[in-house]
């Protein structure tokens, strides 16, 4: 960046803010790689869609955990609601997937909005317990209401129609992958612009220091309520994507394990980085695939160990590691910086 022209154009802080909004080269490369996956790995597209869906789900958690600092142990509640909504919707005979996603997002969002009043009341510990309680409660409902949800056997016989009546899902997951990629990208662009806008900055200031945030006039409660709702909407859509691409809903969409796994995914990738969720999902699912092929039973052991080590030593995740590498590289070549 050229310092001289910068100082002529605008004050430094404006330039920094503008730089936040601009799409970086690595960001564009990231999405191009995802497009390239479609052509380069045609046999692994189902797995790649799983990674994207988990990444999108992690992005929704990042909104409330990374940006707003709300601790939750029950985010799977919204994922599960979206998954079951999309599944049950096709049972009623309405099979168009794209609008199914919207319905699922709306249902999860409505539930998120209502539960935000319970969750946001307390401090960390009671938030933890209430989110945990809501998650377990929904699991129990899905478990007991076997007539509707199929109970532990899961919801079977879901027939998903063509996207917009044009693109049918195929056996190899080609359509599924593109469909998931497009939805993820659109939601990502929305989240990205929200987080680079003053809105995102106000969330950060709430996380960093509530008292000062109040002092500069940020409506804390309203901000937290609507980011919680938005996060629920995105989690619901991620759940619906899983249902539509796998044509099955397992009861473990509501499981505590899923909420805990998601925290790990985000932690591995790095919180409040936007891309952390996707990167973490890729690392997590690939590691799971590899380690459970060695020994399925003890995957939990590695998972726990990974969790302990990342919280203890690698607090900033993969994205944080990449950033400090970038900084190191920049310091090594000072000539290019100025």
């Amino acid at each position: 960046m050229n310092i001289r022209t910068e100082s002529v154009r605008a004050p430094g802080y404006l330039a920094t803010l503008a730089a936040r909004e601009r799409w970086g080269r690595s960001e564009i490369a990231f999405w191009l790689v995802l497009v390239a996956v479609y052509f380069l790995l045609p046999n692994n597209l189902m797995f790649a869609s799983q990674i994207l869906i988990t990444g999108l789900f992690a992005l929704s958690l990042d909104l409330i955990l990374g940006y707003a600092g709300i601790v939750t142990l029950g985010h799977a509640a919204f994922f599960g609601l979206g998954a079951y909504t999309a599944g049950l919707l096709t049972k009623t005979g309405y099979t168009e997937p794209a609008s199914g996603l919207m319905v699922a997002g709306l249902v999860a969002g409505a539930f998120g909005y209502l539960s935000s009043y319970l969750v946001l009341r307390g401090r960390d510990l009671s938030r933890l317990m209430i989110t945990l309680g809501i998650g377990l409660l929904l699991y129990e409902v899905a478990n007991r209401a076997t007539d509707i949800t199929g109970g532990v056997d899961g919801l079977q016989g879901i027939a998903v129609g063509k996207v917009f009546g044009l693109f049918a899902f195929d056996l190899y997951g080609k359509t599924a992958y593109l469909y998931v990629l497009v939805v993820s990208f659109l939601l990502f662009v929305m989240v990205r612009s929200l987080m680079t806008a003053p809105y995102g900055l106000s969330l950060r200031s709430i996380r960093e220091n509530q008292q000062r945030a109040v002092a500069i006039g940020i409506p804390i409660r309203a901000r937290l309520t609507n980011i919680y709702t938005l996060s629920a909407v995105i989690a619901g859509i991620a759940g619906a994507l899983l249902t539509q691409t796998t044509q099955f809903v397992a009861i473990d969409v509501f499981a505590f394990q899923r909420s805990a796994d998601l925290l790990i995914v985000l932690l591995i990738g790095g919180t409040a980085t936007l891309y952390g969720g996707f990167v973490g999902a890729a690392v997590f699912l690939l590691a799971q695939d590899w380690l459970s092929s060695i020994n399925a039973e003890y995957w939990l052991f590695w998972l726990g160990l990974l969790l302990i080590i990342t919280t203890r030593y690698l607090r900033t995740g993969v994205m944080g590691g990449l950033k400090s590498l970038q900084r190191l590289a920049a310091r090594a070549k000072p000539g290019e910086e100025s």
Binding site: V71, D124, L128, L137, E140, L263, E297, L300, G304, I308
Partner: protein, 289 residues
């Protein structure tokens, strides 16, 4: 009516177990504000130690119990030193992640050493069967549980109210900064209470094998119960924890008996409602965590 009395009795015995396990969590949470979701791991460890000591090594039931208390307390000291200590000043989120990690490792470890199934336990003959008291059949084992629970509660209350160490603990819970400035080594106090609390959890887990069951998912299965008891009872309060545990024990037993179809539903709803109604705990301690 008799049926109801029997139910009440079972519920109280169940509550006593829950109390034994969660009282340690209550004190450590009140003292350090440390969210230790892995507290149930110590209870599970106690259970597995009992199974091993009695089944494989041929120890008697009553000799095994104190051994388990000491062993679990020592193991928890090692864990406190190596894993927990760096996290005291960190955020609750990091504490949660760390302790969830510990639960996962413990669950996988238990599966590795003892297998995924429920563990059977052979309680001594003299504790089996029923005792008829005024027309109500009472299980001898549950009577024994309640006796142990009562004795430990009295010990704890006496220890906290009447000894110098107890005074230090109370002072540290009440106001950590002031306690430190009075020359109390709060970290040492915490370390000792952590070990004692974990030892009690181990004891509770061992006593509970027959009542609560024992499998590698024990720490997750009962996590909600422990947390609920601690938060409702008010962190750091022994009597609060006891009343919350007994209440929960009776409510859960009655719920499972009268409306079995709802399963764990009642307990989750109770948790959310109680948290909303009493954000400060039943006894209203002002400690924000």
């Amino acid at each position: 009516m008799l049926n109801f009395l029997g139910l009440l009795f079972d519920g109280l015995a169940y509550g006593t177990l829950l109390f034994l396990i969660s009282v340690g969590l209550s004190v450590t949470l009140g003292l350090m504000g440390f969210v230790n979701l892995a507290h149930g791991v110590f209870a599970m460890l106690g259970g597995y130690l009992l199974v091993t000591l009695m089944g494989r090594l041929g120890f008697g039931f009553l000799t095994a119990l104190p051994l388990i208390f000491v062993a679990v307390a020592l193991i928890s000291l090692v864990l406190e030193r190596s894993l927990y200590r760096p996290f005291y000043k960190k955020t609750h989120l990091e504490q949660v992640l760390l302790t969830v990690g510990i639960i996962f490792v413990a669950t996988a470890g238990a599966t590795y050493f003892w297998g995924p199934g429920q563990q059977p336990i052979e309680i001594p003959v003299w504790m089996k069967g029923q005792l008829n008291l005024a027309g109500v059949d009472l299980s001898r084992y549950r009577l024994f549980l309640m006796a142990v629970g009562t004795a430990i509660t009295l010990l704890l209350v006496f220890g906290l109210e009447r000894t110098r160490f107890g005074a230090r603990v109370r002072a540290s819970v009440e106001r950590q900064r002031t306690a430190e400035s009075m020359g109390i080594h709060v970290e040492r106090v915490f370390q000792i209470t952590f070990a004692l609390g974990s030892g009690l959890a181990g004891l509770g887990g061992a006593l509970g094998v027959d009542v609560l069951g024992l499998d590698p998912y024990f720490p997750l299965k009962y996590l909600v119960y422990f947390l609920l008891i601690v938060v409702v009872g008010g962190p750091g309060s022994v009597i609060g924890t006891l009343s919350a545990a007994l209440l929960l024990g009776v409510a859960d037993t009655a719920g499972k008996y009268y409306i079995p179809s709802t399963g764990a539903f009642v307990i989750y709803v109770a948790m959310i409602v109680l948290l909303l109604l009493f954000p400060q705990g039943l006894l209203g301690r002002r400690k924000e965590i």
